[in-house]
Amino acid sequence: MMSFKWIIPSCVALIGVSFLSQGAYMQIKANFAQYLIEQAWSKTLEDQLPHKPWSWADTHPVAKLKLYADKETDLYPIGQPMFVLAGASGRNLAFGPSLVLSGAGVGEQGNTIIAGHRDTHFLPLQQVKKGDIVELETSYGMQQNYLITHIDIVHETQTEVLNMTTDNQLTLITCYPFEDLSANSDYRYVVTAKKVNSGHRLI
C-alpha cells in the first residue's frame, strides 16, 4: 500500500527530471559547444582553414561575433562573444549562431546573414538598439564593424530579408517574441546592420 502511494509522485518526479534534463541539456550544449568551437576558431585564425570543432561535426566556425551597446559614445559589450558556424541547419543552431549559406560569406560584399536561437546565443539581441555596433571577426583576423540601422519584426515567410544587397550588410535573425517559450514561432526578429569604416577600431 505504501509503495502504491509513492508511485504517482515518483513518476511525476521522473518525468520532471527528464524534462528538466532535456531543457538543461539544450542550454548546456549551447554553452559548452562554444568552448570547443572557440578552440577550432583559434586554429582557423592561425591557418585560415576550416577546422571542425569536434571530429564528427558537419560544420566549422567561420566568424566571431560580438555585440556592443553604444552608451553615449562609450561602447560596452553585450553578452559573450559568439562563434558563428557555417550553415543554418537546426543542428548547427543548437551549437551556435550560424551563417545562412545562401547569403554572402563573412567579410564578402553583399548580405551576410546569421541566424541564432533566441533562448541561447541570440538572447542578448533583445538588448540591442539602433546605433549599436556588431563586430565580426573574419578568419583572417580582420575586425569588421557594422552599425545597426534597422530592427524589424517579420513573418517567417518574409524571406525578403535574405535578399542579396549591393552594400555590405549584416542581417541577424532570431525568433520573436524573446520571452516566448515554445520551439515554434511565426515571427522573426531581424537586426540589420551596415558596415562602417573599419579603418580604425572602435573599441
Binding site: 500500500m1 528538466l20 549559406l101 533566441r118 533562448d119 517567417e156 524573446f178
Partner: protein
Amino acid sequence: MKRLTRYRNRKIPIIRNATNKLDLAAYGCSGLILLALMLLNVLFPVHAMGSSDRRNTGSEHKGNDLSEVTQGILRYQVNGQQFESLPLKTDVRMKVSGWTNRVSVKQTFTNQSSDWINGSYIFPLSSNSAVDQMRLIIGERVIEGDIQPKKQAKATFEKAKSQGKRASLVSQQRANIFTTEVANLGPKETLTVEISYQEKLRYRDGEFSLRFPMTINPRYKPGSSAVDGETVNHKPLNGVTVTSELSQQSYESLSPTLPSSLLSFSPEFLLYPAADDRSEIDYELDDKNSDGVTVNLLVELEAGFNVADINSPYQEIKKVGAGDKWQISLVGQQKANKDFVLTWRAQANESLSPLTAVFTQQGQTHEVVNQQSKEHSNKKSNEKSNKHIDNKAKLNQVEYGLVMLTPPAASNQSQFVQRDPNTNDDISKHHLPRELILVIDTSGSMSGGSLEQAKQAMLYALAGLTSQDKFNVIEFNHAMSQLSEQSLVGSSSNIGKANQFVRQLEANGGTEISKALSVSLTHAGNQAGNHEDEFNRAQEHSTLLRQVIFITDGAVSNEHGLFQQIEAELGDSRLFTVGIGSAPNSYFMERAAMFGRGTYTYIGKTSEVKSKISQLLAKIEKPVSTDIKLTYQDGTVPDYWPAQIPDLYQDEPLLVSYKSPSYNQQDLIVSGYSQGQYWQHQINRNAPKQAAGLDLIWANAQIDAIEATQSRSNLQRVKKQVEALGMKYHLVTSQTSLVAVDKTPVNPMAEFNRNQQVKRHMPDGWKRPQGVLPQTATSSRLNILIGLSLLIIALLHGLWLKGLLPAQRLILPKNNEQGGSYDVI
C-alpha cells in the same frame, strides 16, 4: 493493517526523536519551493507584461476602428500614428495576338481622406512579363513615363515628391514583383497609373494559356502564432457570403496580433501582413457597394486560328465573338481571389496547322520614346551614348522574332521538313525506359524535418518506377553508400529493398558532395565501358535516359569546384536538384541544375512533397530531345535567347526569341538528338506573321539569361549589362525604373504628406519557392519550466504523503496528542 501500524509505529518515533531535524527539513523544503518560484520569475518575467501590453493596444484598436471605419477605407492606429489603407482599383486589358499578350494594367489610386498623401502599392505580374510603358493619368492629361536607371529614377521621384509635384514610379522588386509609388495625391483626388507589358503565352499539350496573378488569399495566420493567444478565423475564400461586419471583426482581431509595439522600427514592413488581410475586407466592402469586382478584366483574343474551348478554371467568364476573334471579360459579382487563368485551343479540324512557326517584327517598339529619354540619360555616360548612336543607324534594319521549337513527335506541321520519321512514332507511343538515380544527402545538416521530407520524396519517386526502368539509390554524408553496385531493375522486390534502404537512413556527419556526384553521374557509362564492348555501350546510351535526382540542402562550401565537376562529368546524364528544408542553398542548387541541364525543385513543407515530386517525375518521364541548336541555313548562329536551349520535353515546345538583321532572310534550322538519333526541322521565314512587342520579349529573355549567370564575382558587370538593356528597350528591370513627373507643383506643403500603403496582392510564387526563415528557437526553457513544475508537484505530493506540509504539521500534533512531545508555538 499490520503494515499500517508498523508505519505508524515507525513514524511517530521519528517525529518524536527528531523534531528539530524535521522542522529544519520542512523549512528547507518550503525554502526550496520559494527559491524555485523565484527562479521561474527571474527566468520568465517579461512574458506576462508583454502580453498585457498587447492586450491594451488591442482594445485601443477596437475603440478606434469601430467609430471610424468607413466604406472602402480602413484606418488603424499604431503608437499614435495613423495608417490607412489606400483603396485601389485595377483595370486590366489584354490583347492576345499570336503567341504574345499585350497587357495594360490601370491602377487607380483614390484618396478619400482630406490630407495629401503618398501611396505605394506592391503587386505581382507573371514572371516573364516585360514592363515597358507607364503613364501617369491626371484627369484628362497623360504623362508618359521615362526609363531611367533605378537610382536616378528614385531620385527624380523623390525630388518631385518634395517639390510638391505629382509623380509616379514603377520599379521592380524581384523578377515578378513590382512596386508603383505615387506622390502628392491630393484630398479626394484620383490618380491613375497605367502600366503596360508584353508577355509570351504558354503552350503545352496543344493548349494555350495566359495567367494574370491577382491572388489575395489569406496566407497569414497571425492568430495561431505565439504572439497572441487570440485566434483569428480564416476568412472564407468566397467572401461574398461574408458580411462586412464579420470581416471587420476579424480585422480587429488581426491588428493586435501584429507586434504593434514594434511598429516604431519600420511600419511599412510590418504592415504588409495586415495590409494583405485588409485587402480582402476592402474587396468585401467594395463588393457590397459597387456590385462589381475591384479588378476589371477584359481580354481581346485574336488567335490567328479558329478557337475552341475557351476556359477559365478559376473565374466565371463571359465570351463574345466567333472564329478567331473573341472578347472575354469577367462576370461581375465575382471576387478576385484567385489568379486569372485563361486557356484555349485550336478547333479540332484546324489542329494540324494553327501554329505558325515564326512571328517577326521590324525594328524596336520604343525607338521614338527612346530617343527622347536618351537625351536625358546620355548626359550621364558617354559610353552608353556611343552604343545608342550605333544602334540608331541599325535600328530599322533589325528584325526581332519568336520561333517555336517543337520536339519531333509533336511536329506534324506541313512546313516542317522531317528528317527522321521513324523515331517520331516510337517516341510518342512508348514510355521511355530510363535509369533513375536517387541521391540523398544524409549529412548532419539534414537532421530532423529535412531528412523526413527527403525520405518521403524518395519513397514517392520509388513508387513511380516500372519494371522497364532501372534505378539506384545513393546516400552520402562524409562517406557514401549505395543500394547496389549496378543499377537495379525496377521490380517490386528491388523497390521493396530500396524502400527498406531509404527508411533506415539517418542524418549524421559531414557533407562530401563531390564523390556522390561523380558516382551518380558517371557510374553506368564508365563501368559499362570497362566490361562491355562499344556497341553495347552505345545501345545502353540510346535506350536509357540517365536522370539523377539529387536531394540535399546544399550546405556546401566549394560551389565552383562542384559546378566544374558537374560540367565535366555530366555526359548524357541530367541532374535534377531538389532543395529540402527551411533555407536550402538555392544559389548552389539552381546553378547545379543549370550545369546539369535539369531543373531545380524546392520543397518547403512536408505537405508539398507529393505534389512537387510528382510534377517533377511527370515532366521527366516524357521523351526528351537534347542538344537543341538553332542556326541559319548556312550554319551561322542567330542572336537568340535563352542562349542555352534546355532539353525539349514531349508536348512542351519552347518559344525562343531571336534577333536578326533584316537582310538575312535565310531559313532557320532547329536540330537536336532524341534517343541518340539526330533530327532537324527547317523553319521557313519567307512568310512570317507580324507581331508587336517581340523586341521586348527578346530583351527580357536576354536579361533573364544574364541575371541567371550572376555570381558574386560578376555582379557589377551583370548589373551594367542589365541596365544597358533596360535603357535600350525601355524596360523595367532590376536596374531600371519608369518614372513620370507632372511639371506643375500642386502641393505647397509636400513634406507633411502621409505615406500610405495600398493593400497588397501576394503572388502565388511569393511564399513557396522562397520558403521560410530558419527556425531560431528551442523549447529548452519550456522544458526546464515543465520539468521544474513537475518536480515541485512531486515534492509537494511527497511531503503531503509524509504529512510534512507546513499546514499538516500544524494540525498533526493535535492528532498525535498521545505522542505528546510536540510543542507548537
